[in-house]
């Protein structure tokens, strides 16, 4: 279980508070207006931003003091998820061999399988620059598969994709997360994405990241903060 215990995060003047827990393997959307602190919340969980107060725990283990590289977390950023000068095989290989050495035969087979799994079969030797935006997202997801971490954070990695492509990617994330049994926290400012993808929603507004609520229930009876964000009348 991922538990945020009395967490306060400094956002340069304003603060963001969170105090809740979420079960492993769930798909959670982090929804709210821009600037509310959605990415800040993910950064804190990933370890890129220190907490002002509180603790973050995973399965009872305290992550609070750990640097990003020691946390059980993989994260996809808005951009820069792949090294542009390395081939896909090299990029994915880094998930298996963080010391940069070439993977063994078994590793090479796993890379090929991961690429095939996301629909990039045989593209090992391509560089990210020669791929479309959607293909780059797929390659990054293939790496997430290889990283095999129990928490997957998505910081709007598909923001630059068109609606159809984005829906496709969300579908793929769902498959990848299911295969790994990973907890997914996905930042979005699009209520449609949240409804399509997430089992639960964390609403971030007014300095508070609210406890996750079942998606159906949340949209059936939106709280005032969500109603304000969606605009009166809702969606």
């Amino acid at each position: 279980m991922l538990r945020l215990e009395g967490v306060t995060i400094d956002m340069g003047g304003a603060t963001l508070a969170a105090d809740w827990a979420v079960q492993p393997g769930r798909r959670v959307a982090v929804l709210g207006p821009s600037g509310a602190g959605k990415s800040t919340l993910l950064d804190a969980i990933a370890g890129f931003r220190p907490l002002e107060r509180g603790r973050i725990l995973w399965d009872g283990q305290d992550l609070t003091g750990l640097p990003p590289e020691r946390r059980p977390v993989s994260i996809l950023f808005q951009d820069g998820n792949l090294f542009p000068h390395l081939t896909l095989a090299r990029n994915l290989g880094l998930a298996l061999r963080p010391d940069g050495r070439r993977p063994d035969a078994a590793g090479i087979a796993r890379i090929a399988a991961a690429l095939a799994r996301v629909g990039l079969e045989g593209m090992q030797d391509r560089r990210p620059g020669t791929l479309s935006g959607g293909q780059q997202s797929r390659a990054a997801l293939a790496r997430v598969l290889l990283q095999e971490r129990p928490i997957l954070l998505l910081d709007e990695p598909f923001a630059a994709l068109g609606p159809a492509l984005k829906a496709e990617m969300l579908e793929l994330v769902r498959d990848v997360a299911a295969q790994l049994g990973a907890l997914v926290l996905m930042v979005t400012h699009d209520a449609g994405d949240a409804r399509r993808f997430a089992e639960a929603v964390v609403l971030v507004a007014d300095g508070i990241a609210a406890p996750p609520v079942e998606t159906e229930r949340l949209f059936a009876d939106p709280p005032p903060a969500l109603r304000a964000y969606l605009g009166e009348g809702g969606h």
């Binding site: 000068h85 880094l94 940069g100």
Partner: protein
């Protein structure tokens, strides 16, 4: 973290290798009592020639930069690139070129005597200043040109729509710019000229045209008076530190010239003939000596003896060693207060360092046997500020772009260096490596202090051939040096560009 450790080790080594020699000089110098009247004369000459050189370089740079900023013509890009050439041009090669134009048997004196006019003598104060202007006029021009091209196009359009007269335009747009940039350029050039050694060695000399650096060399080589050499080094150190601090404060806005071809400013109708004259004069002043080095050097290439080839071999090895050392330092220190190291290197001149290293080595080994390693080390130190300035911002950018990805992938420091940092730094490292290699290749400083006949570098060999009045062989060796310096720069820079994937 491991990276931190590396940075600390590199910084400690750097501090030890710069402050150690300085300490050796301080200990050995028994006050300023060892200095004779000739040494104080050297101090006066050093300051005086540096002031004159900076003054002429800056004044002449104004019309040249203005012409380059407001005219568009075929070869403009080449001319701007040419302005970068003196930076990697070996001093001794430039001196050969200047002698070919202004020397005893040069073009100018040929023309003068054909007209029945008295001959000019290049040796002495005016020769030293002439050579310094040759090297620093391009630098001042680049600094000014950068400012000129940064004038917002809106302001130029406004001036045009107001119908400002040339005089009003100058007062409103150009004068403030010149007043802002020129003091910094002046200060930087003044400091560079304070540490002038090779120019003074070749074109100055004699009691009335000796710089402090040259006096250090003479005290070590001719008088073997190490106490006096140390006292002179102390003098030079104080001079460099004082002027360096002033320059550092004045030159905040000056930079050293990158990205010179931005948006097209509006060209101006008036003053076209005047601009053309300035551009032709500046291009001639830079190109004629270089062209003559090539022209006069070609026949001399056949006369290159085994000694010259051996010296060339030494120089190439030395340049490569300096480059490797300097780039390793750069990578280790990038991001760790580069400006501080730059300041240190501005203040400490090669001959002060050389004197200190000489004093440190003498109890243990014959310093003359260490000529090449010491020269490689000093050259690496002297080029470090430039390399840091080129590479450090790129390292910062790579860290900003990929630092988080690195963390989430749990990359080891070696993997980060080998797979991310080095491949992505190819271009700036290639460019910086080219500069360092060319600077080390052409350096005629510490090597003169330490060298014995068996361990000459190519610049020193050119100097010796000149001293022996074997002018044709000297011209050939100078051409070889020119080719090797520019060739090294080209090879490194090219290597950085080739295969540098997006």
């Amino acid at each position: 973290m491991a990276q931190r450790t590396v940075a600390v080790i590199a910084a400690t080594a750097l501090a030890a290798l710069t402050l150690g020699p300085v300490a050796a000089v301080l200990v050995r110098a028994e006050g300023l009592a060892a200095l004779g009247p000739g040494d104080w004369q050297a101090l006066r000459f050093t300051v005086c020639q540096a002031l004159l050189s900076a003054l002429f370089a800056c004044i002449l740079a104004v019309p040249v930069a203005r012409a380059l900023a407001r005219r568009r013509f075929a070869g403009r890009g080449f001319l701007i690139a040419l302005l970068g050439a003196p930076f990697i041009l070996p001093v001794i090669v430039a001196v050969m070129g200047l002698l070919a134009v202004f020397g005893q048997n040069g073009l100018l004196n040929g023309a003068l005597s054909a007209l029945g006019l008295p001959r000019l003598d290049i040796y002495g104060l005016h020769g030293v200043v002439l050579a310094h202007v040759f090297f620093n006029l391009p630098l001042a021009t680049r600094i000014l040109l950068q400012g000129w091209l940064a004038i917002p196009a809106e302001r130029l359009r406004l001036a045009a729509s107001l119908g400002l007269t040339p005089r009003a335009r100058f007062m409103v747009l150009e004068a403030p710019l010149i007043l802002r940039l020129l003091p910094g350029a002046f200060a930087v050039i003044f400091v560079i000229c304070l540490t002038s050694f090779a120019v003074a060695l070749t074109l100055g000399g004699g009691p009335r045209a000796t710089t402090v650096e040259l006096a250090i060399y003479q005290a070590v080589r001719f008088d073997f008076d190490l106490g006096r050499a140390a006292a002179l080094a102390l003098m030079q150190l104080a001079l460099g530190l004082g002027a360096g601090l002033v320059a550092w404060r004045l030159a905040q806005g000056a930079g050293f010239g990158a990205g010179l071809d931005r948006a097209l400013p509006l060209t101006v109708a008036h003053g076209r003939a005047c601009d053309t004259a300035w551009l032709v004069a500046a291009a001639g002043f830079l190109l004629l000596p270089l062209g003559l080095v090539v022209w006069r050097g070609l026949p001399g290439l056949a006369q290159l003896g085994p000694q010259t080839w051996a010296a060339a071999g030494h120089s190439v090895l030395l340049a490569l060693a300096s480059t490797a050392l300097c780039l390793s330092w750069t990578l280790a220190l990038a991001g760790a207060r580069g400006a501080l190291w730059s300041l240190m290197a501005i203040a400490i001149s090669p001959l002060v360092l050389g004197t200190g290293l000489f004093l440190m080595l003498r109890p243990f080994v014959n310093p003359f046997s260490m000529a090449l390693p010491v020269t490689a080390l000093v050259n690496a130190l002297m080029a470090l500020p430039f390399a840091l300035r080129i590479v450090a911002p790129e390292v910062e950018a790579i860290r900003a772009d990929y630092g988080r990805l690195r963390a989430t992938l749990r990359l080891t420091p070696m993997a980060w260096l080998r797979l991310v940092l080095l491949p992505r730094l190819r271009r700036p490292l290639g460019f910086a490596g080219g500069l360092v290699a060319a600077l080390a290749m052409g350096d005629l400083g510490v090597i003169a202090l330490f060298a014995d006949p068996e361990r000459a570098t190519l610049p020193l060999q050119v100097y010796r051939l000149m001293g022996a009045y074997r002018m044709e062989a000297a011209a050939g060796a100078a051409l070889l040096l020119l080719v090797l310096s520019f060739g090294l720069f080209w090879a490194f820079d090219r290597g950085g560009r080739a295969g540098a994937a997006a």
